[in-house]
Assembly symmetry: C2
Homo-oligomer: 253 residues x 2
Amino acid sequence: MQFAQQQSVLPQERQQGRRQDNFLLEFAGLQRLRTYRPRQMVLNQGDCTAHILIIVNGWAEQTIQLADGRRQIVAFGLPGDLCCSDLSSRSRVEQSIMALTSLTVAIVGKLEFRTLLTGNARLSRSFWRNQMLSLSIQRRWTAILGQMDARERVAHLLCELYLRQEKIGAAVQGACSCPLTQTQVAEACGLTQVHTNRVIQDLRRRGLIELRTKRLVIPSLKEMMAVAQFDGSYLDLGDPEPTLAETRASQPA
Amino acid sequence: MQFAQQQSVLPQERQQGRRQDNFLLEFAGLQRLRTYRPRQMVLNQGDCTAHILIIVNGWAEQTIQLADGRRQIVAFGLPGDLCCSDLSSRSRVEQSIMALTSLTVAIVGKLEFRTLLTGNARLSRSFWRNQMLSLSIQRRWTAILGQMDARERVAHLLCELYLRQEKIGAAVQGACSCPLTQTQVAEACGLTQVHTNRVIQDLRRRGLIELRTKRLVIPSLKEMMAVAQFDGSYLDLGDPEPTLAETRASQPA
DNA sequence: GGTTCGGCCTAACGCAGGTGAATGTCCGAA
DNA sequence: TTCGGACATTCACCTGCGTTAGGCCGAACC
């Protein structure tokens, strides 16, 4: 099995200003690119692939589907994020990946990427930092789904999406894009679409969010974070700028 | 903040036969070891540490605590597993780590470990494989907590713990150890202790499990896996034995 | 202009699982 | 031999959320 059929190979316009070092994104911009239309599948659960993906533009969702058909969104991919990042040469992907918006990804052969990593400390550092971040987010989501009620879950998701966008310079003044349908929010939060709707309306009534036409506004991030018991430290790992002495050794180079 | 106080530095007896290559465990056996008593804290959420931990013997739990006190177990550490594996030199740990049994861990400075990784392809491969496995398990748990009901969750947890032990040669003939209290099962599954008890009794009544005095028996793993909709592929990543050509390049070495 | 389809919203009803509390059992320490 | 603490068990009661089933709107397409 391979990637879903190709749409275009033209390098896309570059991302706008990023607030954090994300060398991965810079790197990706120079690779072979592929674009997908909204709702187009990128990879299916169970496929094998010899490539890793780096999202350059747009959003993707990663879902796990159970035998009986129930689906859970386990991760959202934003620009700079990795997909199927297991570097074993041909590994089975454990989740389906679908474009949520128009999506541009860089496709890099795993073998090739591994050799690049050995030669490029900065890339290597970016890559492993990214992996750690994924794990950290995933752990947090385990806690959220295990302990929080519906309102907290939805609020937490929206906070996270806002802050992740802020990090890549895609959020300003409490506003960011949010190309998710309520059904997708539900699938990410482990709720039904009906109940998600109730919760969103409740958040709106309390003046905590505005959410319409793919746009999310959070008037008071502080209040919102209180509702969600949001503690953003899980999004900011380790040393953003390693010391000079470390630049060589830093992540396994 | 540092590791909880030390108990003993004697190298412990080695693990018994392992079914899978786990070089990490071999490696760990040669490092500085530390042991903890059951219920002893190893690290607290929010601590900074310049060390990674490799579990040599015993079980640990990793929990995330919310601001209001609710706790969720986000991972169980078995022999060969890593804790606080973020290699950034001094990173904050996002979860508390506590010994569930008498526990022996290897403590390795991150800086030191990084240099070891660069020089040792086999260690490096083991390490990154382990990281990928953690992520894979965590993703799966996101799906479990988001989609499954109580019985499925508990059954899935028990299947996973059984198979993970089988992998390291700690399960035979459908029997393995399970040093968890019902409260801990509950904290891992996002349920209350009361309801977890109901579910366990139900599983017992159906003859799916025997569970008493820290011992778990699964008479028919097949039936159990059916109840849990268990698909073990998430526990077996990538190439167990990379080709010769790859041994050098394989994981970022 | 009608039809279809995706997305949002609403309402009535029922149940899985939470809550709170009491009781039982085992076991190690004094 | 008794005491206390950790765990398991059971009960009565309640509620957050799922389920089912609809209605409304706008966009895309004939």
